[in-house]
């Protein structure tokens, strides 16, 4: 399959106002492509695996940038870079889970320009799909990864439906654990939806990773005060510490009173097409002490219902161990 180093002809728009960007997006519903840092985008174009006609660069829109307090929580503009998030004092003091997850994305240079919006909306990293094969996710009727010969070491344990690709975004996992809501805009207005209705699995949306409709844009992420300053745990296991996507990651937020766990959120990345919430674990640890014993009990519940593929069984003990480590004192 040919590989190209240059990008194909495309038009580039650099609007300064959100309204203009939304109008452009509406005009180019079928062939438009929002451009944040471009770090997910350029590979698609260079490989000719996606062929948008118009890039709409959102980096010049000041309304989409910055981190501001809202209702006791925080609102982060979709065009804010991961670099800014990692270095923000409030994110670090109150929502360190997000700073840690963002700090594990890709490499310093990619974090310097990659936007939160782009990180959340980035497409699946399944290599069959990225190389432009006509699999289910690309609108075809076969999955190359979930086949007898398929290489599926990186693929899903849960909620697969024809497609077994996983959510690639590190910030998505953290934001799901923080009960974040997504602010979405189009020429028709604005809507807000919780993270678990923003990320979409293959059973409902096999050709996209989110419920964003054509013409819609993520404008901001709102993090409620609910988990501010709570006990957090983030860990990402990848082949290399730089560049590589999570094989499995875990983002945890919990109320802890003394050594007793209260309400919590346990969310894994790299195991399903969306951030995968471990509700059984959350229920099991409630009222228990932070300890190795609690960790052992909860770990067994973490992978309940997992359906391993040919090469990804290793993710099951990995998940279980990450749960254990999150509960250790």
């Amino acid at each position: 399959m040919p590989s190209y180093d240059v990008m194909p002809d495309v038009q580039l728009y650099q609007p300064a106002e959100l309204e203009d960007a939304l109008n452009l997006l509406d005009e180019h519903k079928n062939d438009g492509w929002l451009l944040g840092g471009g770090q997910d985008t350029y590979g698609w174009l260079k490989d000719r695996a996606k062929n948008p006609k118009a890039l709409i660069d959102v980096n010049g829109i000041s309304a989409l940038k910055g981190i501001r307090p809202v209702d006791g929580g925080l609102e982060i503009g979709a065009a804010t870079t991961l670099r800014e998030i990692i270095r923000d004092p409030v994110v670090n003091s109150d929502y360190a889970l997000l700073a840690q997850a963002a700090g594990r994305v890709a490499s310093p240079q990619i974090r310097n320009v990659g936007t939160l919006g782009g990180n959340l909306v980035q497409d699946a990293r399944c290599w069959y799909y990225r190389r432009g094969l006509a699999c289910y996710r690309a609108g075809g009727n076969i999955c190359y990864a979930d086949s007898p010969e398929g290489m599926n070491r990186e693929h899903a344990l849960f909620n697969a439906s024809r497609c077994v690709a996983v959510s690639p975004s590190d910030t998505a996992t953290a934001l799901a654990a923080l009960d974040a809501t997504m602010v979405v805009a189009s020429v028709d207005g604005t809507r807000e939806l919780p993270a678990d209705r923003f990320f979409a699995g293959p059973a409902t949306h096999i050709t996209r990773m989110t419920t964003l409709e054509p013409g819609e844009m993520l404008t901001a992420v709102r993090i409620p005060a609910r988990w501010a300053g709570k006990r957090f745990y983030f860990e990402k296991v990848a082949d290399r510490d730089v560049w590589d996507f999570a094989l499995v990651s875990i983002a945890v937020a919990m109320d802890v009173d003394g050594a007793t766990i209260g309400e919590s959120r346990f969310v894994c990345g790299g195991v399903a097409c969306t951030p995968y919430r471990l509700t059984d674990v959350e229920r099991a640890v409630r009222g228990k002490a932070l300890s190795d014993d609690t960790g052992d009990q909860a770990a067994a519940l973490a992978s309940k219902g997992a359906r391993a593929l040919n090469y990804n069984h290793f993710k099951i003990p990995l998940m279980e161990n990450l749960v254990r480590r999150a509960i250790r004192v």
């Binding site: 399959m1 040919p2 590989s3 190209y4 180093d5 002809d9 650099q14 000719r48 890709a106």
Partner: protein, 228 residues
């Protein structure tokens, strides 16, 4: 000077399967957005402002300019590279690494993977490291771009980071070195006395296939005035 060609296709790809992006076809000529700017004047402009006008064919293809929709970016832009203003004709989809190397003759910036996975193309934009292979040139208008060529003093004295890389025998083959130097410069401008671990983190977006990582870290520590 022979025309520099960008190796843009894998061997098996045929002309027919190639995309509509051919630098050798300049039938369309320069379609500068400013209609008063003739092709000859434009070419002169590029040469006059280049260290080495390396590109002939590479710089000249302009199909698509006529049918550009209204509101899209202009083609003829001014860039601030190493403190100098450079006028150059830039396609909407052109990467900064491409412009630097093939239009402005600044070949110190290397292209390794062209996919954001190696760091050979690292440049500093407004004080922050970027992969120039994964940056649109159109997005750096009005911003300050620094490449490895811009580090040495006017009299040729090496930048302290470059000198430290020499003193510590940092590089092996040298291909990744310009990118490593740029990451080190950006780090030390922000954090003049990093710990070795901080330096390791800051340099972590630059792969060295020769595995000279420790030598590079020694170089960074020396450049920061801390013995390695």
């Amino acid at each position: 000077m022979p025309a520099l060609r960008y190796p843009d296709t894998a061997p098996e790809s045929t002309a027919a399967s190639r995309p509509n992006f051919d630098f050798t076809n300049n039938k369309a000529g320069i379609q500068a957005v400013n209609p008063n700017l003739t092709r000859r004047r434009f070419i002169k402009g590029v040469i006059a402002s280049s260290v080495a006008a390396a590109s002939t064919n590479a710089g000249l293809r302009a199909a698509g300019a006529q049918d550009q929709g209204s509101g899209t970016v202009e083609r003829l832009v001014s860039l601030n590279i190493n403190g100098r203003v450079r006028r150059v004709d830039v396609l909407p989809q052109e990467t900064l690494a491409y412009t630097l190397r093939y239009k402005l003759g600044l070949t110190g910036t290397k292209i390794g993977c062209n996919r954001g996975e190696c760091g050979a193309c690292t440049v500093i934009i407004d004080g922050v490291t970027n992969y120039s292979c994964s940056t649109l040139t159109q997005s750096v208008r009005g911003r300050a771009v620094r490449t490895v060529e811009g580090l040495q003093a006017a009299d040729g004295t090496l930048h302290p980071v470059q000198q430290a890389f020499v003193d510590e025998l940092g590089p092996q083959c040298g291909f990744c070195t310009p990118g490593q130097v740029m990451s080190a410069v950006a780090l030390l401008e922000e954090n003049p006395r990093p710990t070795r671990e901080e330096a390791r983190q800051a340099m972590s977006g630059n792969i060295c296939r020769c595995g000279a990582y420790d030598h590079y870290l020694n170089s960074v520590m020396r450049a920061s005035g801390q013995s390695s």
